[in-house]
Subunit: 515 residues, 2 copies
């Protein structure tokens, strides 16, 4: 078999059975091998940002990597922004990049590029396959590297001749690696701090923000008086009635500094010390005061749930100490479409088992509150700050969980970085409801302009901040990619439309034109 | 004044007065400065690929750089594919990338990234601004580097604190640098080869493929029996009645090898030795046989026109030896929409002074022939092979030349990598007619599948090669971005629609649904 087939069989043998792709000539051997090797689902994106974002959303929900397939350096480049988000989400991805044949690389052909330089910033593991007969082992190593907790992007560059030369045997199947246990010493130090009566903040992320970790963290907090917060952005949070609700760490440094003054100990659980999202003049980047001791209870990839269990045991925390969120469904919003009225409507309609892919940016408003008491659901956030992720991650999540409804909450400006995801949703018949927050401006930049004390926005600057001229008509854009779509202008119509749409299979886009 | 203002004034003082941008928080000082400093036209792209592609199209037509403005590593990453194309076009671009404040960089904030690693592959010149008071000089150096013949991308990374700290005096104005003269020795060798009676091929690119260079090359060829060809892809070619027409070097290696057998000397004029676009099993990458001597008459950035003039003089070539293309307008196409019927219609309607931005890919067909005898026009090609360029480069060309009609010939699959360019065209009121070749498949990949002898395309592989399910409805996509649009299904309607649309100001999209 040719190298591409060896590669493909290695993927399928390890259960990596979805490949998000936008191939070109140098990947044609892989495309042909998909016909010969059963068990791989190829999913086409018309733009590589969709490929990367979908692989991210898939990994978050499937807890295993998908493969991506990019065409040379420029194809990879188009995927980098969403790979950056995936890297921050610690999503496992087997990131395959076709390159020119090894002997063709020295020449300055039109598409020759420095693939390694493009790949390095997002890749936790990076290998340039040197010959076809190594493709089984290289692919196996890539899967293992991607999947090793906490998860990362493993990039394997595959020159065209390695795809078409004889590839030998597939690599051995990879099974999901387990997280490393936290040391007894770390646990003892943590227990002692918790017994001290001093003020403790747990900052959590990773698998800890799913039901089991949240219950353990809540038990500890209720019993010891510690506070638990999630990072501002988390890859996947389980939430809803019956699951302890988590506050999020504040986004802006002045709020964070104020908060952190209240603690003597910061326990990091599958995360790193908090820093400001952006620098501002006269604001600190580092948010933890000298007086607060930082402890890493579990580094990303360590067994945080096991560590929390051990702590509960060491401190004799009762099994029923956790405080789960109460069932509470808001009344649907009324009147004009505002962040708040939309949040109420979302809360009123969110079905059990829903996956929410959210990139509402400045329209987020009261979404967290209004959905906290809904039936249990998963919430996917933008982790890396590179806008244009949620449509794609919603597509990937829907492929990972075909039996669950997906709701994509997407700001209009951010959505325009990769609207091609709509096409993939239609092609794959995915059960995704998309709600576009159409405020028709980069409102976040108006906020930042003000935060930076830059005065009034003038006419020239407005050319770079307003996106309302011409108005984006998302219903047309959706129909252009084969998706049914409805525009709504008041909360009552939104409620009626959303209720109807969520009962139907397949994707539907609702454009909520805001005040 | 703050650093951002120093930067902006330096640009404007050198005539860099258009900035294609997609800014974020770290670029807000620049946005605010646009209000204070007259003379800069800010042009927003909703996706950074548009920003980069427009800057490329602008540079090709304006013969001077525009600035680009990207937000951090991920924003730059979204622009890289079209920056790659711009690099291959040798387009001058002052490529500004905002980054986190210098003191914020060491922290792992969500948007922290290795901007240098992303920028390096496309940047002929690359500098990371270290302090605000250096921004005048760094910007001056970037403009000079970008503009120096043959033109390149000069990337200046601007940390946020350098934008908001005092920036000092603007840098000195930069005037367009001149190309270096070709040495007398090189000219003598060339003249001697041309006198030898041996078989000579001139391969030309750069400014040589504009009227003056083409006339000189044609005089030489007609007088000496040499053959002149352009590279397969050229950034900007002048063509039409009265201008000598150029053959293009063949795209596929088997054709190129066959061609090159016929020559004893290859003269490179503002280009490099030809290599295969892609490698194929049993096909060479290097296309020039050992028996053919390669001479660099003018390297890219050298004064090729001056060299050709000197050669004409040395060989006593008569002033009237050039063979210009004859005026010839085809009859418009009839019947079904095929590459040929569309090419005829384009040829029948192409107005004088038109700028054609062409990325028709496999639908190109007889376009070169059918337009060769039209009134003089410029033709912009995809130079770097990264699909999704022409809509954006058409926008940039229209901004560079507001009084000239722009025709964008765009394949549907390629167009979907960056359709957001349509919005910028509407916003800026650009006089662009867009013709979408809707064949609803990646036909080029079917061709490549066959060239690689991969047999029949099966059902699974087809999932990665067909884009017809769902059909893209480009008229809806265009209307979604505020652009009037018309779908046509036969050549007569195409002719009628195109004739009408090209008489109107402002953009209009025509989707030609092909057989």
């Amino acid at each position: 078999m040719v190298g591409a087939e060896t590669l493909l069989r290695t993927l399928v043998n390890s259960g990596v059975d979805v490949c998000f792709a936008n191939p070109g000539t140098s990947e044609m051997q892989f495309v042909a091998a998909v016909d010969r090797v059963p068990g791989m689902r190829p999913v086409l994106g018309l733009f590589e940002g969709v490929v990367a974002g979908a692989a991210d959303g898939y990994a978050r929900m499937a807890d295993k990597p998908a493969a991506t397939l990019f065409h040379l350096g420029p194809g990879l480049a188009n995927g980098l922004a969403n790979l950056h988000n995936a890297m921050r989400a610690r999503s496992p991805i087997v990131n395959l990049v076709g390159d020119h044949a090894t002997y063709h690389r020295p020449y300055e052909s039109p598409l020759a590029s420095d693939v390694l330089s493009y790949a390095r910033p997002v890749s936790g593991w990076l290998r340039d396959n040197a010959e076809a007969r190594m493709l089984g082992e290289d692919t196996r190593a890539a899967i293992a590297a991607a999947w090793a907790p906490p998860g990362q992007i493993a990039t394997l560059i595959v020159p065209a001749d390695c795809s078409w030369n004889p590839g030998g045997e597939p690599g051995a199947p990879v099974t999901r690696p387990s997280p490393t246990a936290v040391s007894g010493e770390t646990l003892e130090k943590a227990a002692s701090a918790l017994r001290s009566g001093e003020r403790v903040l747990f900052l959590v992320n990773g698998p800890t923000v799913r039901r089991k970790g949240l219950e353990l963290a809540s038990r500890l907090a209720e019993h010891t008086g510690a506070r638990v917060m999630a990072d501002t952005f988390t890859a996947r949070m389980e939430r809803g009635a019956g699951i302890p609700a988590l506050e999020r760490f504040p986004r802006y440094p002045e709020q964070a500094v104020e908060l952190m003054r209240g603690f003597d100990h910061l326990f990091l659980v599958e995360t790193v010390p908090p820093v400001a999202f952006f620098a501002y003049p006269d604001q600190p980047s580092w948010l933890t005061p000298e007086s607060c001791q930082i402890h890493t209870l579990a580094a990303p990839g360590e067994d945080a749930v096991g560590a929390l269990e051990a702590l509960c045991e060491a401190l004799n925390v009762p099994a029923d100490a956790a405080r789960p969120a109460q069932h509470a469904i808001p009344e649907p919003g009324t009147g004009a479409l505002t962040p708040d009225s939309i949040a109420r409507t979302v809360g009123a309609l969110l079905p059990e088992g829903a996956i929410v892919a959210e990139e509402a940016v400045t329209s987020r408003g009261s979404l967290p509150t209004m959905t906290a008491g809904c039936a249990p659901h998963d919430w996917l956030s933008l982790t890396g700050g590179a806008l244009g992720q949620s449509l794609s991650s919603a597509a990937g999540a829907a492929i990972a969980c075909p039996d669950r409804p997906v709701l994509c909450l997407q700001a209009d400006g951010a959505g325009m970085y990769a609207p091609q995801a709509l096409w993939t949703m239609v092609r794959e018949g995915l059960n995704v409801t998309i709600l576009i927050y159409a405020n028709r401006r980069y409102r976040i930049l108006y906020n930042e302009f003000e935060r930076l004390k830059l005065g009034q926005v003038g006419d020239a600057a407005r050319q770079l901040l307003d996106i309302g001229n011409p108005s984006l008509e998302w219903t047309h854009i959706a129909r252009g990619m084969g998706m049914p779509a409805t525009q709504v202008r008041d909360a009552e119509t939104l409620h009626k439309t959303m209720a109807a749409v969520m009962r139907e299979p397949g994707p539907h886009l609702i454009e909520a034109v805001m005040e």
